[in-house]
């Protein structure tokens, strides 16, 4: 059993999804229980993986016992363990929230939700480039269906753009894979990295082109500046538990960038371009998203722009490329994903009690539970704006310390300004929702226990990440150190001899 641990985070949701698909389209109490239980089991599995990865070695799982680089391998290191754990925790919160009734607005919610988890976990665990593409497609297909769960004009309109953009992204992804395979003759990430290090000048120009093409694809998923315009409309239109789960979707792009940057292209000439692009793109995203947060007239759009602020911050950290900045990046990543999820859920809770006005920032009727929702909103706002004493402040502090020399000159003012913009916008939203709304009698539906526990589960991360800041940041630091030694992966996979390229590989 223990040796199959690595593939279980993919198998468990897949089997659950199959069972759920067979048991009917409308969510029954049993379906809900099964879906929540599967997510809870996934959290336990993720904890086991975290412990396993903490030994510092790479464990791998050769599918069908075909050894790397010929077969597909799943590779577990600290980074994948963190991402799988983050997905599981977020998914548990979202699915609990959805079980309160959001899941019955369309068909097959829970099954598609589990398929989405299959794609996410697979993308985080795989050690093969083409397999990464396949898992990207699985998670994207599931996300198309989830995004349009419940239907409606706004969702279909936003979904159309999202689907077309991602299909073009997939086409570019295959193009990049074709170029890289043509130049290196392998698809295994670790093997590709080793081969790129010893290519001649002609082939490495080809590899640089492929690498930059890949970064464009991942930037589209991660939503960096010229490629983020799809995000606010899509996230604002998605149903609340799905928007919350989508908080991790941008992080898949970030994960893929981190992975190829450290493992595949660590020795290639493209690395300088990639880091430069991430750094300046991140800063520009940060700046524009800050303005977007201020300009948003709807709470959901505002949270979508806050997601973009976090994407910008994370991309800057990825662009710096030092061990300290990767440490900060991972710490901030955990915090920001869970809080963004909580904010989307909270926006929904506030919206349904305000009747017609929804989450728009206008005066409306009084909330039925102003103290409860207001209190949670305040915690989430403090955390996401990066004020002490919650985790957002710590993450930003770590990041600002990691910046060196002239990087500080750019990062510090822009990061702090974006934080200030978030603070202003959230205070304005909070005062409109909880103080300035007094038209008519409150009569919206009460928040159900399931919804509340979903939000609290995600919100609890903000204080917990501060209390456990020591262990968490030492784990992320160990991850960053591990990422800086990519040659250990090929050693763990047993890739000692470089096989000569066969004749067919030469273009």
């Amino acid at each position: 059993m223990a040796q199959h641990l690595i593939i279980l985070p993919i198998l468990l949701p897949m089997l659950t999804a199959l069972g759920l698909l067979l048991s009917g389209q409308v969510p029954t109490p049993w379906q809900r229980r099964a879906s929540i239980a599967s997510c809870a089991l996934l959290v336990l599995l993720a904890v086991a993986l975290l412990v396993k990865a903490n030994s510092g070695t790479y464990s791998f799982y050769a599918l069908g016992n075909w050894q790397a680089p010929f077969g597909i391998v799943l590779v577990l290191d600290r980074l994948s363990a963190i991402m799988v754990a983050l997905t599981a925790v977020l998914a548990l919160g979202c699915v609990t929230f959805a079980a309160a009734g959001d899941d019955s607005r369309g068909s097959n919610f829970h099954a598609i939700f589990q398929l989405q988890l299959v794609g996410l976990n697979g993308a985080f665990l795989t050690g093969d480039m083409f397999n990464l593409f396949v898992f990207f497609e699985i998670l994207l297909l599931a996300s198309y269906a989830l995004l349009m769960h419940g239907g409606g004009k706004a969702r279909i309109g936003a979904g159309m753009h999202y689907v077309v953009l991602n299909l073009v992204g997939s086409a570019l992804f295959i193009l990049a894979l074709g170029v890289l395979y043509g130049a290196t003759g392998t698809l295994n990430m670790a093997d590709m990295g080793r081969r790129i290090a010893m290519l001649d000048a002609d082939s490495s120009a080809l590899v640089s082109a492929g690498a930059l093409l890949l970064v464009v694809v991942f930037s589209l998923k991660a939503a960096i500046l010229p490629l983020y315009f799809w995000l606010p409309a899509t996230y604002a239109a998605a149903p609340a538990p799905i928007a919350a789960l989508f908080a991790i979707m941008t992080k898949v792009g970030l994960y893929a960038i981190l992975r190829v940057k450290t493992l595949v292209f660590a020795d290639s000439t493209a690395l300088v371009f990639i880091e430069g692009w991430l750094w300046w793109g991140g800063l520009a995203t940060l700046l524009l998203a800050g303005i977007g947060v201020l300009a948003a007239r709807d709470m959901r759009t505002m949270v979508a722009y806050l997601v973009l602020v976090s994407v910008g911050t994370l991309m800057c950290a990825a662009g710096m490329g030092s061990t300290a900045s990767t440490t900060a990046l991972l710490y901030y990543l955990i915090h920001t994903t869970l809080i963004a999820g909580a904010l989307f859920l909270l926006a929904e809770l506030v919206g349904v009690q305000r009747g017609q006005a929804g989450t728009r920032l206008v005066r409306a009727r009084r909330l039925r539970q102003p103290a409860l929702l207001g209190g949670m909103f305040m915690i989430a706002a403090v955390a996401v704006a990066g004020l002490p004493p919650l985790a957002g402040a710590l993450g930003k502090l770590l990041l600002m310390q990691a910046a060196e020399g002239s990087e500080r000159l750019w990062l510090w003012p822009i990061l702090l300004l974006a934080g200030l913009a978030g603070l202003i916008a959230l205070s304005r939203a909070g005062s409109v929702f909880f103080w300035a709304s007094h038209k008519g009698e409150p009569n919206g539906p009460l928040t159900s226990k399931l919804q509340l526990s979903g939000v609290i589960w995600l919100l609890a991360s903000a204080p917990l990440l501060v209390i456990l800041a020591g262990p968490v940041s030492s784990y992320t630091e160990a991850t960053a150190v591990q990422l800086s030694t990519p040659y250990l992966v090929s050693e763990a996979l047993g890739l000692d001899v470089i096989l000569p390229l066969t004749q067919g590989d030469q273009p």
Binding site: L141, I156, G157, V164, L167, A171, G182, G504, D505
Partner: protein, 113 residues
């Protein structure tokens, strides 16, 4: 053969991108299909172009690389699923939004209905 192959790939992707930038869902679907043909052809060529080279050892003197063929097969299957989904989505969008424009709005200035 190389010239012909690259010409075909280039023309296919150029037409695909042109159609992709149109405003109606139908041309976008056709554009996506053309683009994915171009990408599949490109992927097919990544193991090198050979004639009379079966991807089986022993059948010919220098067997072709079988991996690109397997990958193209995967890409084609995924492409089929995506096209089918896109068509259904476009029909749904036409029904919900009342027209087949990607932004869901009919008509710029000077455009007739």
């Amino acid at each position: 053969m190389e010239l012909l192959f690259s010409l075909v790939t280039g023309v296919l992707s150029a037409s695909g991108i042109y159609l992709l930038l149109r405003g109606r869902t139908f041309s976008i679907i056709v554009g996506l299909a053309l683009l994915s043909y171009a990408v599949n052809l490109f992927l097919f060529s990544m193991g090198g172009l050979h004639t009379h080279a079966a991807a089986v050892i022993g059948e010919s003197e220098s067997p072709a690389d079988p991996l690109p063929q397997a990958l193209v097969l995967t890409a084609i299957v995924i492409g089929f699923a995506m096209t089918a989904f896109m068509v259904i989505l476009a029909i749904r969008a036409r029904a919900e939004l009342g027209n087949d424009h990607v932004d869901g709005k009919q008509g710029e200035e000077g455009e007739t209905r």
